[in-house]
Symmetry: C2
DNA sequence: ATGGTCCCTGAAAACGGTTACTGCAACGTT
DNA sequence: AACGTTGCAGTAACCGTTTTCAGGGACCAT
């Protein structure tokens, strides 16, 4: 394993041609006579020659790969997002770099260092500071994924306002009065917007909104914790609006585990419409966002080159309210 | 955005030193006098200079990143696996390339092409053909992840034999006679070994095993389909052994949705012990494998260099039987 | 003073590709 | 027959680093 790979010059020597010809044949550019092409192709085939990406990168002054930065791989949302991104990038013949920031102290520095490895970086909202993103974009094209566009930095995101429609549905159509919100608005742009849409819907319906959200993360386990905080006391909310499906499913498990009826005792809603949401009993009312498309669109933007004249600077993808049983609606 | 980055030579010119000195300072090697170091450091700081990875890669003859190849990002297993891999690689200061093969026709060729981009590749079992892996290892270090070691190619995997213990538990301790197996043994080495351990346990207990497994994929939706195939007919099995937790959870949902009692009417078991398995009602009996560790171990092997004298050639990680309610055991 | 170490620094040669430029046939035109 | 095209192949420069090697001071011991 790990035999030294042959170089253009060696292939050229073997085929008794110049390196220029080998290069032309291997990348299919320029004029090469049929017999030359044939000869070189045979040698390439025979020795399994593949041009080294590092030499090529240097000559072409591009790495041939792009990166995606996200908080961590927990749950179906990020899986789907990255799938969408990855597929699109591989399709375009480029490489995919990933980096999860978790809550590493060195996250910002690590992301900055990434800039010297790739041709473009997609940064998921809520992973690194705005200053870092600005700094980053000084050396490499950047796209904000599920975040707000910045000066010269385009964004790809979903329309979070649908959670306003959802809240309105709970308040007006179902007549619920006491709602709770699970999610940390400071954690990411998405959650900020969802919390604000939740508040706005309360104002529109002239119903008092909760003073504070239940500030927790976006994982299922956070939902289970939220259930503990919300459902045990006497002042249980009539409906729990969760920032995403994962937490909603956690709350659902917590509610059912306490012997509560959903939606009879408490209604629960989510955001994303992950596969599990249509499988659980009762089906989860949620907002569908095109997660895969978010990733794919981001990839396309990054690859086609950011910031050209007339380039997309803010792609807001449509979302859709999905009514199932958990809000109190009965399926047809 | 995208300002041209400065090169060593430019930095050298500005700081009025040679490129060699800049390089020595920026990477902290060799002897440099304090005042020189100070001067260069200031210029580097001032202009935000970062050595280009492509120049560096060429000079050092290593890309500084490794890749992981897997079928797709569906479900918690792959998320966890990749997290483990990614964390370890980033820790070591290298970059992480990913590639999902899905069932692309070009998968083998794509993986082969990866070899010119990275210093090492972890290939998940069941993604590309053995010949491709062999070919790959001729040019770049390879580690099989959740697969069998090949000549000169080390493997990192979990001990699948625990599913034999599990099967024995169902046959002997619970006395179930009619078992079914959900999973496609041809799909991946892991499933092959689990099916074989399942069969071996039947032989040991002198109980007739099912002739065929229910050949389906490893996603939750496959479990839901399996439930349809297994639970509707008259000859319903007493217990369903699934190749992983995802499908087990799908079967569980299908069973509960049909009004069947689990484990009363049908027992269900999985493999992996994903977080969800301890949250569902009833809790899922399964085999715990250290998924994150698998990824991390693979990364370490890849980074420390494959195939040196005395290097690990086959790391089999321990697994553990986790008895919960879904097999018929009552929790203490 | 002389020679020998030690430190530092810089010039230049890699590393593996791509490509602008040059040169040379062969061919067609007047 | 002289000349301009055209098509194809090769030479060499370049991409941005790292690193070997050599040279030049400063210092010390004789």
């Amino acid at each position: 394993m790990g035999n030294r790979r042959l170089t253009v010059r060696e292939i050229a020597k073997i085929a008794e041609v110049s390196v220029a010809t080998v290069s032309r044949v291997s990348r299919g550019t320029g004029q090469v006579s049929p017999e030359m092409r044939e000869r070189v192709l045979r040698v390439i085939e025979e020795h399994g020659y593949q041009p080294s990406q590092m030499g090529r990168a240097l000559a072409e002054r591009k790495h041939g790969s792009v990166a995606i930065v996200f908080p961590g791989l927990s749950g179906p949302y990020f899986s789907e997002l990255i799938q969408g991104f990855e597929s699109e990038v591989v399709e375009a013949g480029a490489g995919v770099h990933i980096m999860a920031t978790h809550n590493r102290a060195t996250a910002d520095a690590d992301v900055l260092a990434l800039a010297s490895r790739v041709d473009g970086i997609a940064v998921h909202g809520g992973t690194v500071s705005t200053e870092t993103v600005q700094q980053l974009s000084a050396t490499v094209p950047v796209v904000m994924l599920a975040g707000w566009p910045l000066d010269g930095i385009p964004a790809v995101r979903a329309d979070n306002s649908a959670i306003g429609k959802l809240t309105r549905h709970l308040l007006v159509d179902h007549g619920y009065r006491k709602l709770a919100f699970v999610g940390n608005p400071g954690g990411s742009p998405d959650v900020t917007e969802r919390w604000e849409a939740f508040l706005a819907a309360h104002r529109d319906a002239r119903v008092a909104a909760p003073r504070n959200p239940v500030r927790l993360g976006l994982q299922q386990s956070d939902g289970v914790i939220a259930a503990g905080e919300l459902l045990d006391g006497r002042s249980r909310p009539r409906a729990v609006v969760c920032a995403n499906d994962e937490t909603a499913l956690g709350v659902l498990i917590g509610a059912l585990g306490r012997g509560l009826s959903v939606p009879g005792d408490v209604a629960i809603t989510g955001f994303d419409d992950v596969p599990m949401s249509s499988l659980v009993q009762p089906g989860l009312t949620t907002v569908r966002q095109p997660i895969r498309e978010l990733g794919a669109t981001t990839a396309r933007l990054l690859i086609s080159g950011v910031g050209g004249r007339g380039a997309v600077m803010d792609a807001v993808l449509a979302t859709e309210l999905v009514l199932r049983d958990s809000c109190g609606c009965v399926r047809a």
